[in-house]
Amino acid sequence: MGLGEMSQTRLRAWLACMIWTLAGVGFMLTSFSGGGPSELDTDSMRHVTGAAALGFGFVGYWLALWFTRQRKGGPPVSDERDLQIVARANQATLVVVLVGIFVLTIGLWTVYEPEGQVPVGWMWFLAYGSAILAYVTSSVTILILDWRMGGHG
């Protein structure tokens, strides 16, 4: 199936999945190099690289939205089925991100409870990571739902 054969929703989901997976890999490599996420705030180079990965994700995603926008006078590129897919994907994404944050924060609490404080670097990791997780989960869920709702016809 060519790019022109895809609906706007599916094309955007593929692009978002690729862009945010790349951003996520870059962010994870940055976070877990050196002293790990706990020292992310004290290492300015890694801090900037992590922010650059997130920036790449947002700029790339914005460009993907712009290039796949509805053209004036063109045929409809999305409809009620796409709205239903995106709505259901958003519900799933909310749950996945909440569970992800819950698991990480409980893990941090368990590990750092004896010390009485959590390194700030982990908060940066949580903030950046939850944004990336949300976009990756959303795009993957859209692709799965699109397939399950007859999107291969």
């Binding site: 409809p76 709702m149 007859g150 999107g151």
Partner: protein, 74 residues
């Protein structure tokens, strides 16, 4: 109690209407080609509004109603 199944005759009606393409039907009904494909495969149940718009495309001048396109099987 089961929810039932909504079947449709879109594929047959397209071919009976001059082998209308999915894209052509989609443009006339105001939806995407992918939605027409999904409907034909039974992977998607349309809203009432879209069902009426699709029936209207097939029904112009030949008296086809929404019940001739969509069928509810309990």
């Amino acid at each position: 109690m089961g929810e039932g199944v909504i079947k449709n005759q879109i594929r047959r009606l397209r071919f009976e209407h001059g082998e209308m393409t999915q894209q052509e039907l989609a443009e006339r009904a105001g939806c995407t080609r992918q939605t027409i494909g999904a409907l034909e495969q039974g992977g998607y149940v349309p809203s009432l509004a879209l069902a009426f718009r699709i029936a209207r495309v097939f029904g112009v001048g030949v008296g086809v109603g929404v019940e001739d396109v969509f069928e509810f099987e309990p």
